[in-house]
């Protein structure tokens, strides 16, 4: 069994000032990430999708439930955790914050290479860094390696973050909103790069996003999270074309769609003529909507 299995995972956070008051951020979530497959995890801010990612990356410990790598329970510390991290890596949302402004690109890639015993000598590091940068289309590699993060654009930085995740030879990538901070015109190229690397290495990818359109095009399966629970899952096209849960429908109707040109205005005018006050406020009790 070569897969990453998330089984009945629950995460409670203790609330400030409350004697034992708890907030359930993730409520009984299960799924299996397989090599070569992408699962998109979709939901609004606060739905618990990033907490799922952080638990898989071992940045949070689940309150209950387990995460299995190749059928075996995964460790939370020590050597065993190191070996888990050889296999599972994360790409964070903000490439401006996830790279250290103090260090060169080479340093960012050298660390995981050395920590995970992928390269021992300087020559080996040089070679592997060049290879990694080439794979993410950052050329000429020699000059890119010597630069610091501020000398790169957002898209280039995110490519470095992807190369860093690949450095330990990871088989599973957790990408938490990897393109939401990037300009629209380069989002697709970064996603396409991820897709190519996935094909080359047969990576299993968990793509976390609130953008349904890219979720649809870049993943095989979509899971929709709402208030900590997975409320809908299925093949991407199926979920988009034939949504079952009310929340999925709401998400779909909320996504900007050029086809709906002028419709919002007509709706608003119709509503005003009826004397209604914005009716669908607080549907689902979405915070602050």
């Amino acid at each position: 069994m070569k897969n990453l299995e998330v089984k009945h995972v629950v995460k409670d956070f203790r609330l400030a000032g409350g004697r034992g008051r708890k907030f359930r951020a993730v409520d009984d979530v299960s799924f299996t990430l397989e090599p070569g497959k992408t699962i998109a995890l979709v939901g609004e801010s606060g739905s618990g999708k990033s907490t799922v990612a952080r638990m898989i990356a071992k940045l949070e410990v689940p309150t209950s439930g387990e995460i299995l790598l190749d059928g075996k329970a995964s460790a939370t510390r020590g050597r065993a955790l190191d070996s888990y991290r050889h296999n599972v890596q994360m790409v964070f949302q903000d490439p401006f914050a996830s790279l250290n402004p103090f260090h060169t690109i080479r340093h960012h890639l050298e660390r995981p290479l050395r920590l995970h015993d992928k390269a021992k000598t300087t020559a080996e590091v040089d070679e592997q860094v060049a290879h990694l940068l080439e794979r993410v289309n950052l050329v000429p590699t020699a000059s890119v390696a010597l630069r610091r993060p501020h000398e790169l654009s957002g898209g280039q930085r995110q490519r470095v973050a992807i190369a860093r995740a690949l450095a330990p030879g990871a088989r599973f990538l957790i990408a938490d909103e990897p393109v939401s901070m990037l300009d629209v015109s380069i989002r697709l190229s970064v996603l396409n790069l991820l897709a190519r690397l996935q094909r080359e290495d047969n990576l299993g990818v968990l793509y976390i996003t609130h953008d349904l359109a890219t979720a649809r095009h870049f993943s095989d399966e979509i899971m929709v999270m709402f208030k900590g629970k997975v409320v809908e899952r299925g093949p991407s096209d199926e979920v988009i074309r034939n949504p079952q849960h009310e929340y999925t429908k709401l998400l779909l109707s909320a996504a900007p769609n050029p086809e709906n040109q002028g419709r919002l205005r007509e709706e608003v005018l119709a509503e005003m003529n009826l004397g209604a006050q914005a009716t669908d406020r607080d549907r689902f009790g979405t915070r602050g909507m």
Binding site: R241, A254, L264, V268
Partner: protein
């Protein structure tokens, strides 16, 4: 100007009345604007841009980071800070009373009185544009103290409550501090502040970028409703072209400091002329269309 008078005139405007008339009468004209960041070497952020905003319309300003769209917006409101410098061009505000105001020429008190009263702004970053150490009430009162010195405390309180109601936030939230509000609520409060003086133009700089789609939809809906009620014109800045296509009357596409295309939203969508507009439209995979429109190629485009 008396605040209660102002309110009256606002409520007299008939909802939907602006549907037919906008697109005709200009409210803000910018001519040949050039803005340079005086650093070494100088950055020409905005190059010879001319733009007319009509009363009551939503004008979308699209482009990616660094194309100069925010700089242009700041220039229109004389909010540029050194090293940014308005090299040339003039901005004229056509007031409702029929007088024209030369915005670039305003200074000191006249400028302070003009800002927020005629053109208000909703800034980028809903999360951090409110003052974290004073309540929402104090911030709204601040607007009135500055611009409507005649208002009594009771009037301010009433008006503040009314504003929050208009943007869909419970008036009890006047006692809240920014950190006690969600991102969507903070942005609604920002919109309430921008509405406070019944401006004729509202400039919104990426007002929903940090919010998720459901919250964004709620805010857009509110904006559309308020626009119909009060008839202000909006310059809506974002890189989200699908969003602009949905809400704007006209869209200007900016690239490297220049407006490369300006047309009605319908025309931009159906017949984009400039190569860059086409590319921008192509970078959004379709949500509902056929999969064929965009394929996971695995190759860099």
């Amino acid at each position: 100007m008396n605040a209660s008078l102002d309110l009256q005139s606002a409520s007299q405007r008939i909802p939907g009345n602006f549907g037919a008339s906008h697109g005709q009468e200009p409210v803000l004209t910018a001519h040949d604007i050039s803005i340079t960041y005086e650093v070494e070497p100088p950055v020409h952020a905005v190059k010879n841009v001319s733009l007319t905003l009509h009363r009551g319309e939503i004008l979308g300003l699209a482009g990616e980071s660094g194309c100069g769209k925010s700089t242009l917006a700041y220039g229109l409101n004389q909010l540029l800070k050194p090293p940014a410098l308005l090299r040339s061009g003039d901005v004229t505000f056509h007031d409702q009373g029929g007088t024209d105001i030369d915005v670039v020429g305003l200074e000191g008190d006249a400028l302070r009185a003009f800002r927020w009263d005629k053109i208000s702004m909703v800034f980028q970053g809903a999360m951090n544009s409110l003052n974290p150490v004073i309540t929402v009430r104090a911030q709204l009162f601040d607007v009135f103290t500055t611009h409507r010195p005649g208002m009594s405390k009771k009037e301010k309180e009433e008006r503040s409550q009314e504003l929050l109601r208009q943007v869909g936030v419970d008036p009890s939230r006047l006692d809240s501090y920014a950190h006690q509000l969600s991102g969507g609520m903070r942005q609604r409060v920002m919109i309430a502040m921008a509405l406070a003086l019944n401006p004729q133009v509202m400039i919104m700089d990426e007002p929903t970028t940090a919010l998720d789609v459901v919250v964004q939809r709620g805010i857009l809906r509110e904006l559309m409703r308020l626009r119909e009620t009060f008839g202000f014109a909006v310059i809506f800045i974002t890189h989200d072209l699908p969003l602009l296509l949905e809400i704007s009357d006209r869209i200007a596409v900016m690239l490297r400091g220049e407006i490369v295309e300006l047309n009605s939203a319908a025309n931009i969508y159906a017949r984009p002329q400039h190569e860059y507009t086409q590319r921008l439209l192509g970078s959004f995979p379709s949500l509902t269309g056929d999969r064929g429109a965009f394929i996971r190629t695995g190759e860099a485009i």
